[in-house]
Amino acid sequence: MNLISFKLEKRTPPPWWFRILMPILAVIISLAISSIFLLILRKNPFTAFYYLFYGGLGTKFAFLEMLVKATPLILTGIAVSIAFLAKYWNIGAEGQLYAGALLATWVGIQNFNLPPVFYVLLVIVAGFVGGGVWSFIPAYLKAKFKVDDVVTTLLMNYIMIYFVSAILEGPWRHPVSQYPESVNIAENAQLMQLIPRSRVHIGFLIAVAVVFVAYFIVKKTKLGFEIRATGSNPKAANFLGINTLKTIIIASVLSGGIAGLAGVSEVAGVHYHLIHNLSPGYGYSGIVIAMLGGLNPFGVLFAAIYFSVIITGAQMMSRSVGIPPYIADVIQGITLIVMLAMLLLFEYKISIRRGK
C-alpha cells in the first residue's frame, strides 16, 4: 500500500500567539468541513452560519440565553479538563451532572428555613458532593481493581440517568404534574437572577469564579503540579514521590464535583426542579470544550461560550433556513477531531512523504 506517511519532529515550544491562533484555526476549518453537510441539503453555508451566529449573539435575548447555556458548559468543560490533565479519562461528566442535580434537589426540596445566602450555599455544596461521590467510584475502582476509567465513567452515566428517571416517576413524583418531575425547590434555595427579566442567574458568575479557581489550582498549587505531572509522565511523577493513584482520585473528585455544579446550575438556576432530561448532553460537550480550550481554564471559558453560541443559534438557524438543529452536534464532533489534529501541528513539525 502506497500510503502517505508523515515524518514528525518535536518542535521547540511554539510562540504564545500560535496557541491562541490554533483553536481559532480549528474553529474555521471545522466550520468549513461542516458546510459540506449544509451544501448536501442545498443550503447556503454563509446564510446558515449567519443565522447560527445571529441566533446565538445577534439580539439581546439571544445573547442572554447564550449566557444561560454557557453556564453548565463552562462547568463541564472545566470538570473534564481537570481530569484529562491527569490523563484520567473522565467521560462521566453527564452522569456526575445528574448526580449533583439529584443531591442539590434533595437538599432544595427539604424547605429548610434558612436565609437564601446559606441555603444556596448548602445547595451548591450538595451538588458538588453529589457529583464528587459519583466520580469517586470509578476512580476508586481504577486505583483498587484496575478497572478501565473510560468504561466505568461512561456506564455510570446511564446508571445515574435511569436512577433519576426512576426517582422522578416514583418517590419524587410531582403530585399534580403529568410529567415526571420533582416539586420545586424552596424559593430561598434558588440561584438569584443576575439580570432582571432574563433567565441569567448567578450561576454564571459562579462558573466564571470556578474558572479562576481552577486556574489557580492547576497553575499555582502543589496539587495542580501533581495533577499535571501525573498526566504528563506518571513514572517520573512516582519517582518524584507523587502518589499518582491518590492524585487521580483527588482530580476525579474535583472533576466530578465541578460537573455536579453544572447540575446545580440547571436545577437551582433554570428549572427550579429536577427533570429527567435536564441536560441535552452538556457532559459530552464538556469533552469537546475541554479539548478546544487546550485544557486551560481560560481557554475552556472561551470554548464554552463559542459552543453555547452554536447550540443556542442552531435553533434559530433551524427555523430560518430549515436545517436540522443536530448540525450543532456535527460541528462539535468535527471541531473535536480538527482540534486534535491541530494539537499535533502544535507539538510536531510535519513533513509529508509519499510511500513508505
Binding site: L3, L8, V147, M156, N157, M291, Y326, D329
Partner: protein, 311 residues
C-alpha cells in the same frame, strides 16, 4: 411467580436472550478486531447509531432489508477508515479521536434522519426482518424454537464468531494482526506492514459495528428512534475486556448480557413492583461488577493506545 419457570417461559427467555445478544456479539467482535491491532475504537457507539440510521433509511427507500444491512456495514467501514486515518496515519490520541467520531457520527445520524424524514408525529416504520426458521431443526422440542427460530443476522453473528476465532488464531493474517497489537516494532522488523494491518482491522471492526447497529432498526425495532443504541457500544467496550479479546468468550459474555436484558424485559411485565428503570440499569451495573473481577487479569494488547511511528 408460579408461571415463572414453565417450559414456554424458558423457551421465550432463552430465545430472547440470544436475540438481545446479537448486536453485542457483532459490536464486540468489531471492537476485538480493532483492539487486537492496537487501536481502542471509542467511536463504536456513534458508528452503531449511524449504522442503525443507515440501515433504516436504506430499507425505508428501497424496501430491501439486505440492502439496509449492506448500507449499515458500509457506513461502519467508512467510519473505521476515518478512525484509521486519525489514529494510524496521524497518530492522534485514540481516546479523544474515538469520542470525536462518536459525537460526529451520532450527531450526523440525527441530522440525516431529520433532514430526510423530518419530525412527523408518527415515526415511519419498515417491515422488519422476520425470524428464519431452519427447516426441520426448529421443530426439535425445546431447543428448536430457541436455537433455530432466530433472525438471519443472529445466525450470521454466530458464524462470524467462529470465523473471527479462526482468523485470529489459525491464519497468518491473524498472527500479523495480533503481532501489530502486541509489538509493532517487531512485526515491522519481520516485514508486516503495521499501517496496513491496522487500517484493515479498523475497517473490518467498523463494518461489524455498523452491522450491529442495523440489528436495532431492521430486526429488534422497525423504526429509528433517538438513543436507539442506548450505550450498548460502551457495554461492548467492557465485554471485550471481560472476554480477553477471544471470540468464543465474546459469544458467552454477550449471552450473559443478553440474558440480563431479556430477564429485565420479562420482569417488567410481571407483577413485581419495581420501577422498570432498575431493570434497564442492570446490564450497566453487571458490566461494572464483572469488570471489577476480571479487569486485574485482563491481558490488554500491549501496544493498545500507543501510536506507531516508523523512524
Amino acid at each position: 411467580m408460579n408461571n415463572f419457570f414453565t417450559s414456554s417461559f424458558l423457551v421465550g427467555f432463552f430465545a430472547s436472550t440470544i436475540r438481545m445478544a446479537t448486536p453485542l456479539i457483532l459490536a464486540t467482535l468489531g471492537e476485538a478486531f480493532s483492539e487486537r491491532s492496537g487501536i481502542l475504537n471509542l467511536g463504536i457507539e456513534g458508528i452503531m447509531i449511524f449504522g442503525a440510521l443507515a440501515g433504516f433509511v436504506t430499507t425505508y427507500f428501497t424496501h430491501s432489508l439486505w440492502l439496509g444491512v449492506f448500507a449499515a456495514t458500509l457506513s461502519g467501514l467508512l467510519f473505521g477508515l476515518l478512525m484509521a486515518f486519525l489514529t494510524v496515519t496521524l497518530g492522534l490520541n485514540q481516546h479523544v479521536s474515538g469520542l470525536g467520531i462518536t459525537i460526529f457520527a451520532s450527531g450526523l445520524a440525527y441530522y440525516v434522519y431529520r433532514a430526510i424524514i423530518g419530525s412527523p408525529t408518527i415515526p415511519p416504520t419498515i417491515t422488519a426482518f422476520d425470524t428464519l426458521k431452519i427447516p426441520g431443526l426448529w421443530k426439535i422440542p425445546f431447543l428448536g424454537p430457541i436455537l433455530f427460530n432466530q433472525y438471519a443476522l443472529t445466525y450470521i453473528a454466530v458464524i462470524l464468531v467462529i470465523v473471527s476465532g479462526y482468523i485470529f488464531f489459525k491464519t497468518s493474517f491473524g498472527l500479523s494482526l495480533r503481532s501489530v497489537g502486541e509489538n509493532p516494532e517487531a512485526a515491522d522488523a519481520v516485514g508486516v506492514d503495521v499501517y496496513k494491518m491496522r487500517y484493515i482491522a479498523l475497517m473490518v471492526g467498523g463494518s461489524l459495528m455498523g452491522m450491529s447497529g442495523a440489528f436495532f432498526t431492521l430486526a429488534q425495532f422497525n423504526m429509528f428512534i433517538f438513543d436507539i443504541v442506548a450505550g450498548r457500544g460502551w457495554v461492548a467496550i467492557a465485554l471485550v475486556i471481560f472476554a480477553n479479546w477471544i471470540p468464543s468468550r465474546i459469544f458467552w459474555g454477550a449471552l450473559l448480557f443478553g440474558g440480563v436484558d431479556a430477564l429485565g424485559l420479562r420482569l417488567q411485565g410481571t407483577a413485581i413492583n419495581i420501577p422498570f428503570q432498575y431493570f434497564l440499569m442492570m446490564p450497566y451495573i453487571l458490566t461494572i461488577v464483572v469488570l471489577i473481577f476480571t479487569a486485574r487479569n485482563a491481558s490488554y494488547p500491549s501496544a493498545l493506545l500507543k501510536p506507531y511511528r516508523r523512524e
